[in-house]
Symmetry: C2
Subunit: 204 residues, 2 copies
């Protein structure tokens, strides 16, 4: 994967301001996302991420810590577009189910955002360290933000049931590819699933 | 894994009637299920399955064919308890959603049936050959049998959406283990999810 503004360098680069600033951090994050997506959790190393980003592995450690923590950051940045939580919750309770499923499907329909999400899902299903990261992320970032605005009993469980449905759709549509689910128009899924999410998120 | 009635033999066993009859077939199937569950799709071999069942690899081929076909048979036998489709559909449309989710959760709650299902899910998410088997199985056995009794438009898509929700619940409850979904009582899940499946399966 190449990044227009970030040509790869060979060998150990000198640390200039540009290489240790926010641009380098962003480049490392993009490289991490690409490495985890291409190689999976097991075969990705902090050294490899550094190499792909054109920086020293020590700089990866400096910004993100352990491999697990780099993975956590990559998960976060991968889900960020799906979250856009202010947009989803800002519109109020009415239609929140529809906005949530449309946003989720939109991120999965885009191949650039689908690849890292697939990698995360596969890694979480096969490695406890990755499962732990996804668990922490789902709880801390995604569900708690959605739950905070819900005024229903068992709101956490409800948010998780909504999330489970969307994850299951991603599995059957994009990984297992069962027909017709794999090829129906996204809006058909939105129309069918929105009432389910709406019920989980808003009806007591 | 040992099976009470089937002590392991060393070396190439002589084929007696008992070793090539239905008992041997069943023993191979149980061994295949255990091998795929323990080792995953990649690391399981027809030879290893034969060894675990105490029969020659040729007998495994004789009964089931290729590794992919052995996997397909193992998938089928693993899902069989969840299907019990006559029970689920025999009761009529009313309560079909509740019976379906209760049956599904019941199979996952039982550690003996959970292990092979987890193995199948993991394999399908990481190997196209395994995904193909699950796709074929989901379509041919599970969904078509459920769909046959539904008299709603888009019944196949609806059955897949119901399946997607249950698979997503399995992923979040048993693999990622997000709280509270991972520890709530099964009946709480049944109560929340039944109306969703009922709507997908019966409401136009």
């Amino acid at each position: 994967m190449t990044h227009g503004a970030a040509p790869r360098r060979r060998g150990r680069p000198a640390r200039t301001a540009a290489e240790t600033g926010p641009a380098a951090r962003e480049r490392i994050l993009q490289a991490a996302r690409a490495e985890f997506a291409q190689r999976g959790y097991d075969k990705t190393s902090v050294r490899g991420i550094g190499k792909a980003a054109g920086v020293d592995a020590a700089l990866v450690h400096h910004y993100f810590g352990t491999k697990e923590e780099v993975f956590a950051a990559a998960v976060e940045v991968s889900f960020e577009p799906a979250l856009a939580v202010p947009d989803i919750l800002g519109g109020g309770r009415e239609g929140v189910g529809e906005r949530l499923v449309r946003s989720f499907i939109g991120v999965w329909e885009n191949p650039a955002t689908r690849a890292p999400l697939l990698a995360i899902l596969r890694s979480a299903l096969t490695h406890e360290a990755a499962a732990k990261v996804l668990r922490g992320f789902l709880l801390r970032r995604m569900l708690e933000r959605i739950v905070a605005d819900l005024d229903v009993p068992d709101s956490k469980l409800r948010a998780e049931l909504a999330a489970s449905h969307m994850i299951g759709i991603a599995v059957l549509r994009y990984v297992i590819q069962v027909e017709p689910l794999a090829t129906v128009e996204p809006e058909e899924i939105v129309a069918m699933v929105a009432p389910t999410l709406q019920r989980y998120l808003t009806e007591a």
